[in-house]
């Protein structure tokens, strides 16, 4: 979640480094450029778009933002001692002011309770996507664990290329494109060299590939504020754009350092602190429903809403019904 501390007051002249050129990083760059800031976008891969690259609802916007904003490709943020730096083929540059737009982390097999063999053919989602974009398939009979916007898009694309696809989901989901969806949890992998069998809690399937597409928000640079999937588990590109807009307002707030309100609670809300310039909060409630901010209740339709907050009571508590 965003920690405003590192960006107490952002002067118009200073450069803000945005780490990651996915939809969140690019849209934040656009918002900040519009507000007169100097922005540098660093992207570790040799392309922009992050995991939204297959998303028909986002690809047009990504292309447009990519043509407007200059992005340093193959430029990787990493920690050098106490500092964050960006490394590229032209050298190493320290980050004084930055925002983490580093995207989701893919859950590892052991944290999902998957045990067994460790054969070839088990890929985190991002690796499978990188292979696909390079014209490679991660396998022949491919199980994708996790049913969400991104995993279903990858599944459809691989199916178009003639691969047999299973989508494994712990909750029942419907697929538009006739994908075979298995409801269950992956428990154990079998295969001495290449994956041969995936054992679920209620089923066993023969597959040579498992793509793990269960995502967690994760900011590898907690001293920097974060935006997009680095801070929110949400699967709607419009929500990412909203979050970028809110963070841009916060970053630009002259009075930020003096009067900040912390946002707390069990419900995902963005950003983590509110400044006097920002009275809106992005609240995530998958499937919709009622949420409370302080002592007021709001009804959310869809998976999220941008809510105008009641005032500057400290701290601001967001909770479910």
């Amino acid at each position: 979640m965003a920690r405003g501390e590192a960006l107490e007051k952002t002067e118009k002249g200073s450069t803000i480094h945005i780490i990651g050129a996915g939809l969140a990083g690019l849209s934040l760059a656009r918002e900040l450029l519009d507000r007169g800031y100097s922005v540098r976008v660093a992207e570790t891969r040799d392309r922009i778009g992050g995991i939204s690259i297959l998303d028909p609802e986002a690809s047009g916007l990504i292309e447009k933002l990519g043509s407007e904003i200059s992005v340093s490709l193959q430029s990787t943020a990493t920690r050098l001692g106490e500092r964050v730096a960006i490394i590229s083929s032209t050298g190493v540059e320290g980050v004084a002011k930055g925002v983490s737009a580093t995207g989701f982390r893919v859950a590892s097999p052991i944290e999902l309770g998957i045990v067994g063999d460790r054969p070839a053919g088990v890929y985190p989602f991002h690796a499978a996507l990188d292979l696909l974009i390079a014209g490679l398939s991660p396998g022949r009979v491919i199980a994708i664990y996790g049913a969400n916007r991104y995993s279903l898009l990858l599944a459809e694309k691989l199916a178009q290329h003639g691969r047999k696809i299973y989508v494994i989901s712990s909750n029942p989901v419907r697929s538009k494109k006739d994908l075979e969806i298995l409801v269950g949890r992956v428990r154990e992998l079998k295969g001495s060299q290449r994956l041969s069998e995936i054992r679920l809690d209620n089923n066993t399937i023969k597959a040579d590939t498992l793509v793990i597409a269960i995502f967690k928000p994760w900011n590898p640079f907690p001293e920097l504020p974060s935006v997009g999937h680095a801070s929110l588990e949400i699967y709607d590109p419009k929500a990412l754009l909203e979050a970028s807009r809110l963070l841009a307002i916060n970053l630009g707030c002259e009075e930020q350092a003096r009067r900040r309100v912390k946002v707390q609670g069990a419900i995902q809300a963005f950003p983590e602190t509110l400044t006097p310039c920002l009275r809106e909060l992005l609240v995530v409630k998958p499937g919709g429903g009622e949420v409370w901010i302080g002592d007021r209740s709001y009804s959310i339709e869809g998976d999220y809403a941008v809510i105008r907050t009641p005032g500057d009571s400290e701290p601001l508590v967001v909770r479910g019904s």
Partner: protein, 470 residues
Amino acid sequence: MEPRRYDVAIIGAGVAGLFIAHELSKFNLSIAVIEKEAEPGFGVSKGHAGVLHVVQPPFNSLKSMLAVKGNRLYDRVARELGVSMLRLPALLVARSGIELAILPLVYVVLKIIYQIRGFDISIVSGRRLRLLEPNVEGYAAIMIQGYGVIDSFELIDRLYRSSRARGVEFMFKTEARDLKIEDDTIVIETTRGSIRARYVINAAGLGSDTLASRVGGSERIEPHLGVMLVFDKPQTRSIVAPIPTLKPARTKGGGIIPMPWGSTIWGPSFAPTGSREDRGVRAEHVIDVIRKFKDLVRIKGRLVKAYAGVRPSTPKGDFSISYSPQTRRIINLVGIESPGLTAAPAIALMVIGMLKTAGLELTVAGKTPQKIVWRISTRARLAINPSGIEGHEGVIICPCMKVSLADIIDAIENGASTLDGIIFRTKLGMGSCQGQHCIGRAIIAMLRLTRKKPEDLVKSGEASWLVERL
């Protein structure tokens, strides 16, 4: 034409075989190393956590004696080969009133065993324990000096490269199936034809007993599995373990082990396995390890990986390093399990002594070979001085472990032919994100750099294909 006859053939390019090759290569000898897997260290050595042990129970065993000797040789080895190594103590921690009560008794017993072999041992009060190890929970501890943690993959890579530079010939994907004794020659029947040598060292790890039995050996390996858990952050500065009690445990020894590159390993567990091919992680072994160590330390970082290593244990529980009953020109190394890595430099010296006794003439090579200048990894350069990082060094493929394209190119140029070969040499994918940012890109880089066909790329074994054309 008579096929070539080597002076010495070593079967197995694990840490034991490589140390023997490395030491023998200093003499005027023709040497071949025959390895079943695609790369050095892909057998038993692959599962090693890199701990340099001190004394090992049973204390008067060959393995304990060789571990003590090997441990002392490591500072020189690490310097000679430029391998990252940490010297650190082990802390045996008392966590309950009962454990605290038996601590003095355990101390007295251990003091006799350790001190006599030159390892300092002392009692650490609760207060000092908290200063030394702020994350460790305990009332007091016994501290034993002299342990170490080494980057075992780097060690294997450098032993391999230094022996190769001194003329040792390596034959990978070549499995020794049988040994035949002729007049003054041993014929090794392999999956790729026969190889002849005057002397043969059988350091074939899990396959060593089968091979030894062809020439009269009677040892039998009963493989055991050890599961290890990897956390992505440092937790302790020392190796930390609970104080030993008489309770039988499914974890054998093991501890909380800080890795030279900043992660932490818990384990290993210890359980028999029926199959020599089995490297499966079982849920109950994961639970055993968690149960053993969870109350010992405040967990830092996330549990990112569980993996299993296999030990070529024998029922006797000791190393067996002996001449074949049929000829002194074959030396069998059977049951080289933990602390095999620690003992390996001493094993090599012992084997060389045995070869000499068996009649092998050892004259020091006349020409000193060109000294290898080991390349400094991008990660190490970034830690020391980031200026001058540019070009391929600046193209970071693995952000967590700071592995650059230059590191991958170097690994491939120096013998990595598989994805695991690259991973072991560079630590690619071994950090917090477990490969999400690097595995796909590394495969793509491998394709470009090796000009192989996509279907020919493998993880480690020949059937472990990675990708195909879309």
